[in-house]
């Protein structure tokens, strides 16, 4: 009996040692590979947490795919990607503090911006102060990029690249339409795009019969919607973040406030908007900077757009929206810039970003003199049959604009 027990012990111990050796060699191998650290301050809790988590999903996917492919190639060496997240709880002052902590204490090599134009602008001074290349995954307002900063780059084209095509389409489909009503969240991006909408509409001969702002945190829009209903607009344009727009759409339904065309930015791009609004989401139009229907063949780790969509779906169980794709795109842009620069020197990477022209799954990447991307053609889409369907540009058009919203 003792002999058998001893044998068993030896076998088990050998197996255990073997497993330990395999595991630890993996750990050692992993830790012996150098790491490039990217800082990502995000609102993982708070009012913008739905958007913040989308960014995290996008960045995690890119990091995983890049590491599986061997990491980022810098000269002859391969570096593992590590994204360091800090949750700033949807507080912009905290976003700035934590961005600085990522730079000074976590000593990240490069930085992704906080979420949205407002927080990006607030933290943008740090990029310049510390000379750390920063890519903004969710800032479109030109006010972010007109500060003369050299280290800040942005993945979204200016707001009028959304409002101009929208206005052209509505003008073409509804030539007799005259009146536009605009309701905007009093926040940097939503107000900026509402102002662009105002300008785009007026340039095309529309009358803006209503243009008001609502405070952040507003829970009852009845007063504004009643006034909009009384103005009998042909086109209602509302801006905000997903929670605002779900509430506005529902309260529009409650008060029978509608128009032949209803456009909302940026909620309808998300599946959550369609799920929450149900039949009220039908025929709501919107625009964004990317759509899964686009077809690009990129030089990045994802390659084709369809491949990115497939990999995202495999990891998360649903197709990506533009927010998630933008975060992944910022990752691949950094990777391509670092590989082309052949160094981790921040100034050289920054110069490479500034002069780079490259195709990715997100689209063609070329930054203008302000650091904002100038090469994209943002798609306009509409919710038809519960799905976001592209109606512009012609290259990826899937349907025509439908008139009439419940």
């Amino acid at each position: 009996m003792n002999k058998i027990s001893s044998k068993k012990i030896v076998v088990v111990a050998t197996l255990a040692l073997g497993c330990f050796a395999v595991l630890s060699s993996g750990i050692v191998a992993e830790s012996s590979q150098s790491v490039i650290r990217f800082g990502a301050p995000l609102p993982l809790t708070g009012g913008l947490s739905p958007e913040g988590k989308k960014m995290q999903n996008g960045l995690d996917l890119w990091a995983e795919v890049a590491n599986k492919a061997g990491g980022i190639k810098v000269g002859d060496q391969r570096y593992r990607v590590e994204v360091v997240y800090y949750d700033y709880q949807t507080s912009t002052p905290r976003a700035v503090q934590l961005a600085e902590r990522l730079i000074t204490e976590e000593k990240v090599n490069f930085l992704f911006s906080p979420l949205g134009s407002g927080a990006t602008k607030a933290a943008s001074g740090l990029s310049e102060k510390y000379g750390i290349p920063t890519i903004a995954h969710s800032a479109s307002s030109e006010e972010v990029y007109d500060q003369g900063y050299k280290y800040l780059f942005g993945n979204f084209t200016p707001n009028q690249t959304l409002t101009d095509p929208l206005s052209d389409i509505v003008k073409e489909k509804l030539p007799n339409a005259k009146k536009v009503a605009i309701l905007a969240r009093n926040d940097l991006f939503p107000l900026a795009i509402a102002n662009c909408m105002d300008a785009s509409a007026k340039k095309r001969g529309f009358d803006v019969v209503f243009f008001e702002k609502y405070a952040i945190g507003t829970m009852d829009h009845a007063s504004a919607l009643t006034q909009i209903r009384a103005a009998k607009p042909d086109w209602i344009f509302a801006t905000g973040y997903i929670n605002d727009l779900i509430l506005i759409r529902k309260q529009m339904g409650d008060l029978r406030c509608s128009a032949p065309v209803v456009t909302m930015i940026a909620g309808p791009a998300y599946k959550e908007f369609v799920d929450a609004c149900g039949p009220l989401a039908e025929n709501v139009s919107s625009a964004s900077w990317w759509h899964p229907a686009v077809r690009y063949k990129g030089e990045d780790v994802f390659g084709f757009t369809q491949n990115y969509v497939k990999m995202f779906k495999e990891k998360y169980g649903h197709i990506p929206d533009y927010a998630q794709a933008s975060a992944s795109a910022c990752g691949v842009i950094f990777q391509l810039a670092i590989e082309r620069a052949g160094t981790l020197d921040r100034k050289k990477v920054c110069d490479t970003l500034a002069s780079m022209e490259v195709m990715t799954f997100w689209g063609p990447i070329k930054f203008g003199s302000t650091g904002q991307i100038i090469s994209l053609k943002p798609p306009v889409f509409q919710i038809q049959g519960g799905t976001q369907v592209v109606i512009h540009p012609p290259e990826v058009q899937q349907s025509e604009l439908r008139i009439g919203v419940k």
């Binding site: 947490s49 702002k213 405070a215 009845a222 009643t226 779900i246 409650d254």
Partner: protein, 288 residues
């Protein structure tokens, strides 16, 4: 027609506000405690409605009973176990205590439920009442009616029940009430529990209208503050008058000054009332 619609919007909203503030006013007026936990109590009531509807199929208008029981027990225990130790202290002490408890409670809610917004989406929406062009969503109307009914029930309990008269007696004169055989500490706990019940009930009925998130605690608390100052402290009638007044003012304020200033207007009103009529519209001090 526009003015009438704005007025109706304001009255419907005001009815909801009245329910929000009734419990807060009761606790402040009777116990002299500014209950900073109040906003989170409302949120808990909303979550009770949300989860019982989505997992048990219980309509939020029925789950008010569950919310009432849950919040009463919770409120009673907090008062009996913690706040009663400092109830005789200056109001700043109890305010600081409830502030600290609120930090604990709200962050616990954030950890448990995250900050993501949820909403009760009724399978069979109630529809809309069209009164010759004046539109009233029926879910808002029903919510308002239920809220006012429950507020009226509170008023009846406080005036017609033994416990209610005990609460009034303690507010009028604590020592005299004790001498008359009223168990003061128990009355305090029951009062706080009743305040929590009103918060939970308000949260439960409003879950069909407003989004649910721990982040909304400050919105509800600030509304309750303004309404109490508007209507008069410690008075259920005052909470009703204050709520209706605030709803109408915000509605017309949005029309005249723009929707972005509706909240600012309510705080300007708060300041003016504190300067010129600190006892509020009803003009009564304390609870009667």
């Amino acid at each position: 027609m526009l003015i009438l619609q704005i007025l109706v919007n304001g009255l419907v909203l005001g009815g909801l506000y009245a329910c929000i503030a009734a419990g807060f006013s009761l606790v402040w007026g009777v116990l002299n405690i500014i209950n900073i936990l109040y906003g989170s109590f409302i949120i808990i009531g909303s979550y009770v409605a949300y989860f019982t509807y989505n997992y048990l199929g219980i309509h939020p208008f029925l789950s008010v009973t569950i919310a009432a029981v849950v919040l009463f027990v919770f409120g009673y225990l907090i008062q009996a176990g913690i706040i009663n130790r400092v109830v005789a202290a200056p109001v700043l002490t109890t305010l600081t205590l409830t502030f600290g408890l609120e930090l604990l409670l709200n962050n616990s809610l954030l950890v448990a439920f995250t900050a993501d917004y949820r909403k009760v989406i009724l399978e069979n929406p109630l529809g809309i009442l069209d009164m010759g062009g004046i539109i009233v969503p029926l879910d808002k109307l029903a919510t308002m009616a239920l809220a006012l009914l429950l507020t009226g029930l509170l008023y009846w309990v406080l005036n017609a029940s033994r416990i209610g008269r005990g609460i009034v007696a303690v507010r009028m004169d604590r020592e005299a009430a004790a001498l008359m055989g009223v168990k003061v500490k128990q009355i305090y706990a029951i009062t706080f529990g009743l305040g929590a019940v009103m918060a939970g009930v308000a949260g439960s009925v409003m879950s069909v209208i407003f989004p649910i998130s721990p982040l909304n605690n400050i919105v509800f608390l600030s509304k309750a503050f303004v309404i109490c100052v508007l209507g008069g402290l410690g008075s259920v009638t005052g909470a009703m008058v204050g709520g209706l007044t605030l709803g109408v003012i915000e509605s017309f304020g949005g029309l005249i000054f723009g929707p972005e200033h509706a909240m600012t207007l309510s705080f300007i009103l708060l300041i003016l009332l504190l300067i010129f009529r600190p006892t509020g519209i009803m003009g009564k001090k304390g609870y009667e």
